[in-house]
Symmetry: C2
Subunit: 384 residues, 2 copies
């Protein structure tokens, strides 16, 4: 079997945002489209990179018109701004939604058409303009991944776009930016990191190169998510969670994901829900289901989460790890049922439609256990 | 502190060499300069990539005129072949010497002048032509690193050239190629891998991203070097050692190295010795010296090597790890003293000259403990 592994250039640490300007100069950029959202603006991070770009002799224009689950027409609009203001490079600064839109704008900027034309694996033809992705949430992993997820507004589902070209030229993470997130966003994005690491670790495309990153990310979340949710000013915890996000991102970008993300894309596209919260609800249920396919890997996950598995049967040891995750989810105050998000049991037709979408999602290909429509409906019911 | 991390695109696994042609097509190449040596040719690997390139519609010319410790004038000659045969891309296929020459040829091809003009850190101005590095020894890590080491034939010393541009576009490792190495080369290159991982792990530029790679490499060497030396056909061991080489390479390319390599470059350039053997002789002596600077890291290294450190004092636990390495070196039949390589104690003037070279080597900057001329002479005496 051939293992493939790709990583962007990574700049990580306190003060890393100050490297944006010089990094774009190295990439030969002249005018940057800064993609962000109002929350990140309010926190002051966008002002900081604007000043940094100006000091480096760069021009910029801006695009902040996007929603939590970003839509195809928002990408179209952003690409128009890119073209009309004559930009030649893209900066995404924000959480996963912002970075995914920034990447999608870069696609349409050089490949033309609509973002919907590029759904699936390896559909891009033209190379992208230089891109830098600066993550301000320890969550999506989009700052290092070959993924962008955008909502098809007509079909009301999330499209997964996968291509090596989506790996940014440079990934910048300044853990200081995490100190401006509130507790519930910290919990949801942190559990999303855990989901990335676990799905990558049990993926059928996992390799020794993705395993080391996934294992380290699981250990970091296990140790640092609680203090990170508890205290905004805990720099050690913020640093560790930012590193966990990055390592989980490197892992899943190369090993791809599984059923949690496939189902989450179908649900999240239909009802405007937080990606991190949907994942945190689905994760233990999908783990219960997948355990049969790779019990040994689940035992290792349990051990990484601090379970003493000595003397336990294989399946029992695996289950203990899932229990630890249920407990962690409760402790950090993340939702455990869809009903908590105000979602009522969907009718049979909607359920069937979502199950079909999930089965067709690119993330389902690497799930360790074979999945049927009925399996998805069962998982969904248990998570209601 | 800002962490930086870079990796090439990696293609790893049985049969990976078959991806050379299509990989060059992706990079837009038309005619490849294939850099290799006669040993690799005899093993049949060069024929295989030639056929693969032809099948992909690519042309090639070849350059095989290089020695174990490759010289500046060999690079000049190779760059002439590149220009005269109108190549536009470079493939290195072989051990560390071959890959270092292939990279050096790529430098001179677009930057002009002599390779000696680029000694040190970040001296390159023009981007390199597309490069693919295919490693056939689990050793140098050059297949993923930003390093090239070439002998200055006049000064009789090894020049270290460090630049992000030296990270190949694509790194290809086919563990099958390792099955053609004899036991003593397997031992020397395997101990070189261990040296890379340990120097990177105790480097003052180590980061969480380089640590995970270094730790995994140390564990793999600890588990698989012995069976890999013992049995050419042990595919599991070859696969693991190739992965260890790659991970140690990713680690030291970003965390840089230390006193073993700095001294080894001075010694190896002066007397035509095997880089792997010189490193395996120096490693335990430099560890004895560096222990004082980072005892906790040395304890972790001992644990990765299988030492039960419970109940031991910090320094004692660190020393146990060094003892394990002395034992491993003996077991795999690698030399432990320079006298075994036919080297007699150099005179005072030569010693002083080598010590000065070692202190000026780019690898010394990241050594964890401050080093004086006397320290180097002491280490050298103990290793005689």
């Amino acid at each position: 079997m051939i293992n493939k592994f790709m990583s962007p250039e990574i700049i990580f640490g306190k003060g890393a945002l100050e490297h944006v300007g010089e990094s774009f100069l190295r990439l030969g950029a002249r005018k940057i489209l800064i993609v962000s959202d109002t929350g990140v603006c309010r926190a002051g991070w966008v002002d900081q990179v604007m000043e940094n770009c100006l000091n480096a002799g760069l021009e910029y224009s801006t695009f902040f018109n996007l929603t939590t689950n970003p839509k195809d027409f928002e990408v179209t609009y952003g690409a128009q701004v890119f073209a009309e203001t004559e930009c030649d490079a893209v900066l995404g600064i924000g959480g996963g939604s912002v970075l995914d839109v920034a990447k999608a704008i870069a696609i349409v900027a050089t490949n033309g058409g609509k973002i919907n034309d590029y759904e699936g694996v390896d559909k891009l033809l033209a190379p992208l303009p230089p891109t830098i992705m600066a993550s301000t949430t320890a969550g999506s992993g989009s700052e290092v991944s070959q993924f962008s997820v955008i909502v098809d507004s007509e079909k009301k589902k999330k499209m997964t776009i996968i291509s090596k070209s989506l790996i940014p030229d440079i990934s910048i993470t300044d853990p200081l930016t995490l100190a401006t997130k509130d507790a519930s966003l910290t919990a949801a994005t942190g559990l999303d990191v855990l989901t990335h690491a676990i799905e990558a670790y049990v993926s059928i495309a996992a390799t020794p190169l993705t395993d080391v990153q996934a294992k380290n990310a699981i250990q970091l979340v296990s140790k640092y998510l609680r203090p990170s949710v508890a205290t905004k000013s805990n720099e050690e915890a913020k640093h560790a969670m930012a590193m966990a996000s990055l390592q989980a991102g490197l892992s899943f970008s190369n090993a791809i994901l599984g059923a949690v993300h496939a189902i989450s894309h179908a649900v999240g596209g239909r009802y405007e829900l937080s990606h991190g919260e949907v994942n945190s609800i689905l994760l233990p249920h999908v783990m219960d289901f997948n355990l049969l396919a790779k019990p040994q890997r689940y035992v290792e996950i349990a051990e990484l989460l601090g379970v003493d598995t000595r003397g336990l049967q294989l399946m029992e040891a695996g289950k203990r790890g899932i229990e630890v995750i249920r407990q962690l989810t409760k402790e950090v105050g993340a939702p455990q049922h869809f009903s908590e998000l105000g979602l009522h049991s969907p009718d049979e037709a909607s359920m069937n439609e979502m199950a079909t979408m999930a089965l067709e999602d690119a993330c389902m290909i690497t799930n360790p256990r074979d999945v049927t429509t009925k399996d998805i409906k069962d998982i969904f019911s248990r998570a209601m």
